[in-house]
Structures are given as C-alpha cells and as structure tokens.
C-alpha cells in the first residue's frame, strides 16, 4: 500500500511532522546498522532462519488428543464447559421453539411492530417485506434457526461485552489492560477463531455460538467503555454534588448517558454476529449459513443466493432498526409495548388456530434456476473471448502473472530482516513507537511459528487486493461524495456487498477468474470495497464547508477543490479507509483459501477439515499476527471506534 499513500502523503504532511519523521528514520537506521550485520552473519539467507523457529506440532497434537480423550470424563469439561455448552443448547432451543410456535405470521407481526415502535412505519413495512421474502424463498425454517442462534449469541455477547465494558469504563487500570486485547480482537479474521472453539466444544451449535460471542463481544465492550468514559464530566459532577452513591451514579447517570454508544455497540454486535453465524456454518451452526455452504458443495449459485438473500435482509433490517433505536428516532415508552405485544400474540394465535404457522408451499418462489441460468450465461460470455478487452480469465491470468507473482516473489526475495525493518519504519512513521514495536513483534512471531513463506504469500495477496480496493474504492467514494444521486443508487449495492455471505459469490468468482489467487483477491475486493467507499464519501462530505466556500470564492475549479482542499482535509478519513480496507481484505483473503488462494487460508481450512490442530492453529495464529501487523502499520494515531462503515 506504500505505493498508494505515497503520492498524497508528502504534500499533505505538515512541515512540522517532517523532522520527527527524519529523526525516527535515523534512529531506525542506527538500530539496523548495529543489528543487521550481526543477524546476517549469524543466519544468512533471505527466509526466516530455521534456528529461530519453534515447532509446535507435537505439543499441539498432544493437546488435541488429550482433549478428545478426556472430553467426556474430565471434570473441567463435565462441570465447567459442559454446562456452558448445555446452556447454549437449551437457550437456542427455547428461542427456536418459541419462534416456530409463533409461526411466520407471529414472528413477522412481532418484528414489524417492534420496528414500527422503534423506527417508524417505513422501516416496519421494510421489515415485513423482508420477513415475508425469507419465507417466500422457502427459507423460513433456516432463517428461524439462524435467528435463534443470533438471539442467544447476541444476548451473550452483549452481556459479556457490557460487563467487560463496565469494568473498563469504570476503572482506568482495567481499561488499559483490556484495550489492546479488544483492539486486537477486532482486527482478527473470523476464520481464525473457529478451530480452537471446535476442538473444545466439537462441531455444532455450542461451538458456533461461542465463536460468535468471542467475535461479536469486543465491539460491545469497546463501545460500552467508550460511552462510559465519554460521559459529560459536568453532568457526572452534578450527580456527585447531589450526593449520589456509586450505584446511583452508574444506574441513573452513566449508563443512560452512554445510551447512544451502548446501542451502537448492540448494532455492531448484531452485525458481527450475523456475519459470524454464516462463517460458523463451517463448524455446524446450521441455519441459513449451512444452506449456503451446502449449496456451495453442489456448485449451486442459485440455491446459495436463495439462502444468502435472507441473510442480507436480516442484516439490513437489524442494522436499520437498531441504528434507529440508537439515534432515538422516537422516544420509546413502556406503555406502547403492551398493545404491540398483544397484537403480535393475537396474530400468532390466530395463525395457530387456523393452522397456518407453516408457510404455504405454493407460495414459495424458486429463484435458484433463473439465477443459475443467469450466472451460466454470464460466465459463459465473460470468461474468455470478449473482443478487445479479453475475458475475465485473461485478466485473472495477467493479474496473477504481472502483479501477484512479482509482489510475492519480491516479498520472498527480500531478506527477512529487511521486511521487519520496512514494517517498523512504516508503522513508526504513521503511528508511535509502540505500534511499531507491536507490528515488528507480530511479524517476528510469524517467523518463529515457521510459516514465513505462506505468510508472505498471503501478504502479497492482501497488498494486491488492498491496492485494487483503494483505487476503485476511493474513486467511487469521490464520485459518490460529488453526486447525491449516485450515492443513493450506490447505497443498496454497498449494503448487499457488505452483508452477502462471501460463500455466495465465491463460486461465480471462480467461474469468472478460474481457480487460484486471483478469485480470492476479487472476493476480498468485493467485500472490502463498501467500507472504503463509505469512509471516503463520509470523509469528503464532512470537510468543513467554509474551507470549500473559501476555495470556491478564490475561483478554484471543482477538480482543484477536490485535490487541494477536500482530499487533504479528508486525510484522516482516507487513512481510516486504508486501515479498514486492509483489515477487511485480510478477512476474505483467508476465506479465499476455499477457492485456491492457498497460503495461510488453505492451512486454516485444512486444519478445520482434517481436525489438524497443529496446521490450523499455527496458521490461525499467523493470521492473527499478520492482521495485527497490518492494522498497526496502517493505524493513524487516532483509533477508530467502529468496525465496518
């Protein structure tokens, strides 16, 4: 990504920053001058020296065997984790049965009334349409399974996140201890979580729920802490001055004051839980994700889409409703809930009495077939032989040969210490010496784990995908910021791109680009693009209108305004876009292991498929380190508060 940021940074860098930058670089050069000769004489060669690696295969295999052998006898499992697992199963089942009992009329009515109370009639109509579409696609039962799992996972995530957030919000020491952990967890690709959870809980719903909780709780914790810490100090002082006890202060002031952040946390948690619920289908989560995954096995894009659409709809509805609740569109009073609940119950009961809890089979829409035909047509016509520009297969081949291969070869050709140095320099220039140190340690950990080569392979894919994402994303973002109409058109497309499970479009991507790293990169670009576009658009739009007005009054053209005022002023947003792009791209490049991306992604998939802890966990750890390193390298000093756009 250095090539991307290079043209803008020298010009926008204030001159005061230049001198510390030079000083930092000189310091690094001095350190390098001492260390590098030592290292190279000791361990010559360009890849990570074998003497510096630790082989974890034996201990990990032992651990794995021990867990499998003791899972049904050891007290830790019987009295500890067993109950956890049991409780998850019981609660998911309870919610699931309740949803099934309500039937599609009851659930739809309840959802619509909730949306109406919280967010107004328009969203209520949208919610109704969304739920009816899920049913019409023949996906009612899987949708309810996913919903049941989500309810339990989100409730647990919110509970856990709130407790952690309270601890961090109320105690500075806990905050300092927790913050780096939460920051780190937020950049980890979901795939990396799966294997350890599976090992302990086995395939199935408990593992899926717990993986989801681990994935979705951090944003809740972060935002809770942020909300508590961000409360107006004078209000708290006023509360103190009236003699409130610590409890009164917390319950009557701090928590209500943090309401916005708490609800944003719930919103983020729901979105992350939903995306994880799909990925967790790999470890037996069932529901919609499982349908997508099964359709993938028979290369049935239409069926995958039929299961993917409900996920998108659920995501959009849940996002909008919780966002509206957070924005406080209308004040919620307790009294109005009673008739709403009563109405929903009445609908459910009526449906039950008339025997209409199951969606009538005649009303099911079969979209699989036309979709498949469309995809076939598209792949047949675009794959090769398009005049002048060549087919997608040619593009993929060229992209692989001219971009992916040289980048990978370059990374592998560079001596390992020079990669460390480059990372240190980049992270230090953008952030602080702490971020630089974390980045270097993370990268070194990859070497120690003995997966230097595949990690560099994955890194090359990430870099290529980020470059493409940024070029396309920033350009689209600029276009959207300049035209309201374009932005409105773009919004649903971005929503779909962001929430559609990646499994759905992996197959068409393979059909277009062939097996290999190119489709992995393409899928990553599709996934990361929305966030980059959104952040860019937002950043450009938030530029102080006075500055633009001033430029305009001096007779600057639109292009000059963009180049000289908007882009430089939106620099923090652009840096954030880079950071988000990197994190999101990494998440999907890993999933790209399923379409021939190879490298770490393949190792994780292999570990999951073969139950091979040694391969999977090491690759997972390497991904974690890679994510950490990339995040720190691209992290401007100010920390973002949310994931996604």
């Amino acid at each position: 990504m250095a090539t991307i940021t290079a043209p803008t940074s020298p010009r926008t860098l204030p001159s005061t920053l230049k001198r510390p930058a030079v000083r930092k670089l000189l310091t690094l050069a001095a350190i390098a001058a001492i260390l590098v000769p030592l290292l190279t004489t000791r361990w010559p060669g360009t890849t990570w020296p074998a003497q510096l690696t630790v082989d974890l295969t034996t201990p990990l295999t032992h651990t794995s065997d021990w867990i499998i052998d003791n899972r049904d006898t050891h007290p830790l499992f019987l009295y500890g984790l067993g109950h956890v697992s049991n409780a998850v199963v019981l609660s998911v089942r309870a919610v699931y049965l309740a949803l099934l009992t309500a039937g599609w009329p009851g659930v739809t009515a309840l959802a619509a009334l909730t949306a109406w109370r919280v967010a107004g009639p328009r969203l209520a109509a949208g919610t109704t349409a969304a739920f009816l579409t899920c049913a019409a696609l023949g996906m009612w039962v899987p949708t309810m399974q996913t919903l049941a799992l989500m309810v339990v996972a989100v409730a647990a995530s919110v509970a856990v996140g709130t407790v952690l957030g309270l601890a961090a919000g109320l105690s500075g020491r806990t905050d300092r201890a927790l913050r780096p952990v939460l920051d780190t967890m937020q950049v980890l690709p979901a795939f990396a979580y799966l294997l350890p959870v599976v090992l302990v809980f086995g395939i199935g719903v408990p593992a899926a729920v717990l993986a989801t909780v681990v994935y979705a709780a951090p944003p809740m914790a972060r935002l809770t802490a942020l909300g508590l810490r961000g409360a107006d100090r004078e209000v708290l002082e006023a509360v103190d001055s009236l003699g409130a006890t610590a409890r009164q202060r917390l319950l009557t002031a701090r928590i209500p004051l943090a309401r916005k952040d708490l609800l944003l946390g719930v919103n983020q948690t729901i979105m992350m839980a939903l995306s994880m619920a799909v990925i967790a289908s790999v470890i037996g989560a069932g529901g919609l994700g499982d349908r997508v995954y099964q359709a993938l096995a028979s290369v049935d894009v239409g069926a995958a889409l039929a299961a993917g659409i409900p996920i998108v709809l659920l995501a959009v509805v849940l996002d909008r409703v919780t966002a509206a609740a957070g924005a406080g569109v209308r004040p919620v009073r307790r009294a109005v809930w009673v008739p709403a609940l009563a109405a929903a119950a009445a609908v459910a009961l009526a449906a039950r009495l008339t025997g209409r809890t199951d969606w009538p089979t005649g009303w099911t829409l079969h979209i699989a077939e036309p979709v498949n035909r469309a995809v076939d047509w598209m792949t047949a016509h675009l794959y090769s032989g398009v005049p002048v520009v060549g087919g997608t297969a040619d593009w993929a081949a060229r992209f692989t040969t001219w971009i992916l291969d040289p980048v990978r070869a370059g990374l592998l050709w560079l001596p390992w210490w020079s990669v460390l140095l480059a990372v240190a320099a980049l992270a230090w220039l953008i952030g602080t010496w702490r971020t630089a140190l974390t980045a270097v340690l993370a990268l070194a950990a990859i070497g120690v784990l003995g997966v230097w080569k595949p990690s560099m392979d994955t890194l090359s894919q990430v870099l290529a995908a980020v470059a493409v994402t940024l070029v396309v994303g920033v350009a689209t973002g600029i276009a959207a910021a300049r035209s309201d109409r374009f932005e409105r058109l773009l919004r649903p497309v971005l929503d779909v791109c962001q929430t559609m499970p990646q499994f759905v479009y992996l197959i068409p991507v393979v059909a277009l680009f062939g097996v290999g790293r190119a489709p992995a990169v393409a899928a990553a670009v599709v996934y990361a693009l929305p966030a980059v576009v959104r952040i860019t658009t937002q950043g450009l739009r938030q530029v102080d209108p006075a500055a633009l007005e001033a430029a305009g009054s001096l007779g600057a053209t639109g292009w000059q305004q963009l180049r000289q005022v908007q882009l430089p002023l939106a620099r923090p947003a652009l840096l954030l876009a880079v950071n988000q792009g990197v994190v999101l791209v990494l998440a999907v490049v890993i999933i790209g292991g399923l379409v021939g991306g190879g490298a770490l992604g393949y190792d994780v998939v292999f570990g999951l498929a073969q139950g091979d802890l040694a391969t999977g966990l090491v690759a997972g750890a390497a991904i974690v380190c890679l994510g950490l390193m990339l995040d720190r390298v691209t992290q401007p000093t100010g920390r973002r508060t949310t994931k996604g756009a």
């Binding site: 899972r71 409780a87 199935g204 096995a297 291969d405 062939g514 097996v515 021939g596 393949y602």
Partner: protein, 315 residues
C-alpha cells in the same frame, strides 16, 4: 478472558442445574423441534454423499415417519461429531484408519454400519478429448512431456495439477516430488471451486490435469480418463512422505453412533441395510448437481423408479 469465562459459567450453571454435564452427549438444539423421532445425518461436501443422504432422508421421512436433520461437516470432524452423538450416521466414508482405531476400537463410541455398496477410487484425470488427441498422455511417465500444455498463471513455468478440497485424502504433493514431475499442485480449496474450474476448462476444450475421484457425477458431464500412476501395492502409501504409487480402490463404509446403533430403532436398522450401486448414486448426484433439482426432489424421483431396490432396506 478468565473473568468472562467464570462469569459466564456462573450464570449458566444456574441455568443448567448443578452436577455434571457431559457435552459430548448433547443433541442439536434444532433437532426434533416438532416432537417427532429424529435422526441426524452427516452430509459431506461432495455430491455423492448428498445423494446418499437425500435418499435415506426421503425414505426415513416418508416410509418410516422420522424427522431428519442434516449437518454439513468435513470428514474428520464428522467422526468426532458422530462419536459425540451430534450426528447419528455417516453414510459414506473413504477410509480414516486413525479415526476408526480411536473411536471404534478404543473408545467404542462408533459402530461400523457395513458397506455402502459403492467402491471409491481416487486418481489423476485428464479430459477424454485430450486423451484422444494425445493417447500417450495417460501414462505418468509422459506427463513431463506435456507439462507446458497444463501451464496456468498459478503454476507458473510448471504444469498445473489441480487438487480439491483440503478435507480430501491426497498424496499429490508427495507424488509429484517422488515421481520427479515438473508439476505444481494447485489446491482449489473446495470441491465447488474445483468443479467450477473443470467445467470452465471443458467448455473451452482446454487441457487440464486434475485430482479426481469416482464415483462422481461430473464424469457424466465432463468425460475424463485416468492417468496411470505406478500401481498400488498394499502398504505402499504407509509413509505419506514417500508415497510413489497410485491410490487404492476403497469400498465405501457406513458408520453409526454406537448408542444409536444399539437402541434398536427402525432408523438404525434401515441405515445398516442401506446399500446401493455406483450407478444408483450417480443418477441421484447428477439430478442434484447438474439438473439442479433440490436433493429432496432428486431423491423422490429416484425412489419412485427404484421401488424394488429400497424395499429391501426397510426393516
């Protein structure tokens, strides 16, 4: 993290009651939601396995009155799930000696369910149109000569040997090395990706070399010819690093959860008797994968036309 676990454990303990909770004996929360007798079957990611399950599911539901849940799990984790009773049966296993030793012989949590009646075979394949053009390509000794034909962007200067899902048994990396072939193994990462790629190649009549297995419905759509590797001898694949011979022919096996097999239910008896031929399986697979029928519709079609075959399976 510890705080989280203890807090969670505390609340959950209240929920689930005190005492021991063996999580290896917990069923899926979605199982038996309507109060019916339930069987949970493991579906592996390939279509042949889907064909087995869809037919078994159809018969269990329509002839024996069960409710059937299916869970898609990879092969090795499926053994674990089977041992825990999260699934009741695996209908098609391609041979996992380690797992068999651990769960069937040592722990006794899994019972053998007899053969499926289908013999599986893994091998290297080229499309038949290519084999007709270059008849000598089907001998591994000549593969190097044709390596330039199989070059792709991914394999660079070497020929590409397309491999599939990481869950499959494969010795290809060792084979390429030990047979000193000028090839690069490219892992498609999933069977879906591999099939998609093969079909794109076939559409364009391009040459390709792939790891593939029979029985598989794709042969009906893309006729392929096996490349002869050095013949398989008992034990020649004992050391995965030194393999230099072909893959064996494996009679595919069924496995049942030990508790499920013992409880004497009709479902267990039915699944033990379930046995059909490669052609039968392919017929159903093809309907699912190529005609894009839903597994249920495909099963229904097959069941309607093969009454005598499945009548024998009913207890």
């Amino acid at each position: 993290m510890r705080l989280r676990t203890t807090a969670l454990a505390g609340t959950l303990l209240l929920l689930t009651g005190c005492g021991a909770a063996d999580m290896t004996q917990q069923a899926s929360p979605f199982a038996g939601a309507r109060g019916a007798k339930t069987v949970t079957l493991s579906v592996q990611s390939w279509v042949g396995a889907q064909a087995n399950v869809s037919v078994a599911q159809y018969l269990l539901e329509h002839e024996l009155g069960y409710r059937v849940d299916t869970v898609q799990v990879d092969e090795v984790p499926a053994w674990d799930a089977l041992s825990q009773g999260r699934v009741d049966a695996i209908l098609e296993d391609w041979g996992h000696p380690d797992q068999e030793q651990r769960y069937v012989d040592d722990k006794g949590t899994i019972a053998r369910g007899g053969g499926l009646g289908v013999t599986g075979h893994i091998g290297w394949y080229v499309p038949t149109y290519l084999a007709k053009q270059h008849p000598d390509i089907t001998d591994w000794r000549n593969l190097d000569k044709y390596a330039p034909l199989f070059r792709t962007a991914e394999s660079g200067s070497k020929g590409q040997l397309l491999d599939g899902s990481p869950s499959y048994v494969t010795n290809d990396k060792a084979l390429v090395k030990n047979l000193h072939l000028d090839y690069q193994v490219v892992f498609a990462g999933s069977e879906a990706a591999q099939i998609t790629q093969i079909r794109q190649f076939a559409k364009e009549k391009k040459p390709f070399l792939t790891y593939w297995y029979a029985p598989q419905w794709l042969f009906e759509k893309v006729p392929m010819t096996e490349v002869k590797l050095p013949p398989y001898k008992e034990g020649c694949d004992a050391d995965p690093e030194k393999v230099a011979c072909a893959y064996p022919h494996t009679p595919l096996q069924k496995y049942l959860n030990a508790g499920f097999a013992k409880d004497g239910s009709k479902a267990a008896a039915f699944l033990k008797k379930f046995r059909w031929t490669t052609e039968d399986q392919n017929e159903v697979s093809l309907m699912i994968a190529d005609e894009k029928l839903s597994p249920e519709e495909a099963a229904k079609k097959w069941v309607e036309s093969h009454r005598s075959t499945w009548q024998a399976w009913l207890p």
